[in-house]
């Protein structure tokens, strides 16, 4: 797996390239932690080149959902293949994690969410 980290305006974008499994999730986990610690308010995860994900990869998101919600950090995943979306779906996580089709949609969502008061 490789990570590509970019900042576009106020969006912190992490692109995951390859397989996110028990072996590679450690690195991704710290990249996500770093983004949160650096007080990024809009973290977009580009999954368009993500070939595979298993539970430790998914856990990187779920373990930080509360923290993101509490700190009004928008964590948005986009561009994932239907196969990978299915994994989130069978866990019921498509209801709890924000998943968008394109980068544009992800940005629009994050923008809007930032300015409406969060429910949590």
């Amino acid at each position: 797996m490789e990570l590509l980290i970019q900042n576009e305006d106020k969006f912190h974008i992490i692109s995951i390239i390859g397989d996110l499994d028990a072996s590679s999730s450690v690195i991704f986990d710290s990249a996500l932690e770093e983004a949160i610690n650096a007080k990024a308010k809009n973290i977009l995860i580009d999954c368009s080149q993500l070939d595979y994900i298993s539970s430790p990869g998914i856990g990187a998101f779920t373990s930080r959902l509360e923290e993101c919600n509490q700190n009004n950090i928008q964590l948005v995943l986009y561009g994932m293949s239907p196969k990978i979306e299915n994994v989130f779906k069978i866990l019921g996580l498509d209801q709890l994690i924000v998943i968008k089709k394109t980068k544009e949609e992800a940005k629009i969502y994050a923008n809007d969410a930032q300015f409406t008061s969060p429910l949590h």
Partner: protein
């Protein structure tokens, strides 16, 4: 029968997935089903490698793939002494996992959802975890 034996390191999970994919590719199994099967086997192997063998590369894990008609049998063999019982383990619910804020506890939920049946066999320090999956349309 296809089989693969590799040392207990997390880096070998990718090789295990490649092996499973290659073994299933010659059957008429949808790529979605192949993805899920790879995932379930990956989760079981990752657990053994991490929790039972502590990533000791001198220990080994073996994956065997057999099929009887449209039922695929995946066996994961290892030689650890830990007495974790996968069958008695109650999976937590997802809300609880999120509230818990720790990364973990989702692998076995996936295995249970994907596989039809799970069987454990222990015999003189040799453990077999047997996963069954029936794919109605699969033909060699």
């Amino acid at each position: 029968m296809h089989s693969l034996q590799v040392p207990c390191t997390k880096e070998n999970l990718k090789e295990i997935r490649y092996f499973v994919e290659n073994a299933l590719n010659r059957y008429e199994i949808s790529t979605d089903d192949i993805y899920f099967i790879k995932l379930a086997i990956d989760e079981i192997c990752a657990n053994l490698i991490i929790h039972a063998h502590h990533c000791n590369h001198e220990d080994f894990i073996e994956v065997k793939i057999k099929n009887e008609g449209n039922t695929f049998i995946f066996e994961i063999h290892d030689q650890s002494n830990d007495n974790f019982n996968l069958l008695e383990y109650k999976v937590p619910d997802i809300q609880q996992i999120i509230a818990n804020k720790k990364n973990g506890n989702m692998g076995l939920i996936l295995v249970r959802k994907i596989m039809d049946e799970i069987e454990l066999e222990r015999c003189e320090g040799h453990n077999i975890c047997r996963l069954y999956k029936s794919i109605p349309q699969a033909n060699s």
